[in-house]
């Protein structure tokens, strides 16, 4: 059976060129970048090349890129590091109500330590109103953090506008761009951001590798203190293998961004149009155009997400869901709740995240296989046709 992976938000295969770039660091090139001798230098050069490649992808300069163990660490660091560095200036943070867990829970941890938080609402498309940001700023605001795009519902936020407001008020601005870097054009200067989190996997780099962009001049305390790696901003022996892979993946993404988008958008739009057309009482989630190129999110009424996923999995189709059972927290996605979606309906969430490897035939398959699965489960559901 052919496997159709439409769960690229969870994991995407490495590009062959990325694997090739990593191979030497599995064997002969085993130096530690911090050591003085030539074994170390070889690796240092590789790290610096990767830094340039990642910086190039988002129009940053090399010294502004700090490698981390992934998007989650970058997000935690941005928040906690800024609070530590700016406590004397204030203790108020502005964020949105649809952030990734790594922002949401890091902020909750900060709240326990006395930080005050404003969580901005979103409209029914999951989009923040920049005017709300302006209104929420106080003299004690030390950070604004709004994600660039949400992977669960696909909507892209007006980051450049929010950044402009932040800058006018002199408030540092962070964006979680894990879902967008390497996927749509991201330019830290155009977006007016001071800090930006990214991870390698969305652009076909290795899992567990990421970076934080820290604009020159921004004061931040380390989350992980220690040696002098990463200019002393992030200590610890580097995950050389992961970083080299991320660098190569960034370089390729920079070149292929446009063609990847041109490939994904029609497939995405087919899913968003054809699934509701072939199954009654299904509605799309999020904005139709201001959305991630590979992201299709729908709600199927009267059926729970995990049960659909399991049947799709048996047919070789891998997708995700924002249902409570899937989230493992036994809670419906906070993102959908924030968009005003009813908790019961949100249980029927299906999330398709497309990648390079998906084809029109894959979409055909999904549109063929999904309706009978939904019918079978609806026939079993006490909510259906009451």
């Amino acid at each position: 059976m052919k496997t159709i992976n439409m769960d690229h938000v969870a994991a995407s295969s490495l590009l062959p060129e990325v694997v090739e770039a990593m191979m030497p660091f599995l064997s002969e090139k085993m130096g530690n970048p911090s050591s003085m001798h030539s074994l170390g230098e070889e690796v240092t050069e590789a790290l610096e090349e990767a830094r340039g490649q990642v910086a190039g992808l988002i129009n940053a300069s090399d010294q502004e890129m700090v490698f981390t163990s992934g998007g989650t660490e970058s997000n935690n660091w941005a928040l906690k590091g800024m609070v530590l560095a700016n406590r004397s200036r204030g203790n108020h943070i502005i964020t949105s109500s649809i952030e990734h867990f790594s922002i949401m829970h890091a902020i909750k941890a900060l709240e326990k330590q006395g930080v005050e938080v404003t969580r901005l609402p979103v409209d029914k498309y999951g989009i923040v109103d920049p005017d709300d940001v302006r209104k929420a700023i106080t003299p004690r605001t030390i950070l604004i953090s709004v994600m660039h795009a949400n992977n669960e519902v696909g909507s892209i936020q007006p980051i450049a506008e929010i950044g402009k407001i932040a800058r006018e008020h002199g408030v540092p601005f962070h964006t979680d761009a894990v879902a967008t870097v390497g996927v749509i054009p991201v330019d830290v200067k155009a977006l007016n951001v001071d800090l930006l989190s990214l991870a390698a996997n969305p652009f076909y780099g290795p899992l567990g590798t990421g970076a934080l962009y820290v604009r020159k001049g921004v004061r931040i305390e380390p989350l992980i203190d220690g040696g002098i790696q990463e200019q002393g901003l992030r200590a610890g022996t580097e995950n050389v293998l992961g970083i080299v892979g991320m660098g190569k993946a960034a370089e390729i993404a920079a070149g292929e961004l446009e063609s990847r988008m041109a490939h994904l958008i029609p497939l995405r739009d087919r899913l968003i149009n054809e699934i509701p057309a072939s199954i009654e009482e299904v509605e799309p989630v999020g904005h139709r155009t201001q959305r991630l190129p590979g992201n299709a999110s729908v709600l199927v009424r009267y059926v729970e997400g995990e049960s659909m996923l399991l049947f799709l999995d048996m047919e070789g189709i891998k997708i995700a869901s924002g249902s409570a059972c899937i989230s493992r927290s036994l809670k419906v996605s906070h993102v959908m709740l924030a968009m005003g979606i009813d908790a019961g309906n949100a249980q029927g969430s299906l999330l398709f995240t497309l990648g390079k490897d998906n084809t029109n035939e894959d979409v055909d398959e999904v549109v063929r296989i999904l309706p009978p699965i939904v019918q079978k489960l609806r026939d079993m559901s006490p909510l259906y046709k009451r």
Binding site: Y302, V303, E304, C325, L330, K331, Q347, D379, S381
Partner: protein
């Protein structure tokens, strides 16, 4: 994640459906929590002659409903009241810890159907089966506010020391 027995019951659930003239009906759960189970029973001479269910929920919820219906069928009412969380999990060859609440729901729904039948027998107006809790309380650590206990299983142990 799921045992073969669970997957078998999930793929081919036994006794799906409603009994239009059921002697007893029991329903638990709430769509906001992701699980609703409705059980319908036919009773003959104190024995569960027929048991059917409808379930909105995850794979475990469906498999549990199916297993409970099979376990119950043919049992006396008293015997069926003994079907427990643990016996369902054992019959399914285990469930992931965070799915244990599903097995509770299955037995509860069945028990409610039996209680419904008994109330009717005693001429009482059947108590409306309760809806599930409005707040999805954590079945593992019993914390009610999901904001305070967002993770399942061991996190609570770790950070609360419980």
């Amino acid at each position: 994640m799921y045992s073969d027995v669970v997957m078998d019951h999930f793929k081919n659930p036994r006794n799906v459906g409603e009994i239009p003239d059921a002697d007893g009906v029991g329903e638990v759960g709430n769509p906001a929590c992701g699980d609703i189970m409705a059980f319908y029973i036919k009773v003959n001479n104190n024995v569960l002659e027929d048991v059917k269910f409808k379930t909105f929920g995850c794979g475990a919820a469906i498999a549990v409903s199916s297993m409970v219906s099979e376990m119950a069928k043919g049992k006396t009412l008293d015997e069926a009241m003994q079907i427990s969380n643990k016996s369902v999990i054992d019959a399914l060859n285990g469930l992931p810890k965070k799915k244990h609440h599903c097995s509770n729901l299955g037995a509860d729904a069945l028990h409610r159907a039996i209680e419904d039948y008994r109330s009717k027998q005693q001429g009482k107006i059947a108590e409306r089966p309760l809806d599930g809790p409005e707040v999805c309380s954590c079945p593992v650590c019993d914390v009610n506010d999901p904001e305070e206990a967002p993770y399942c299983s061991s996190v609570c142990e770790r950070t609360t020391g419980k």
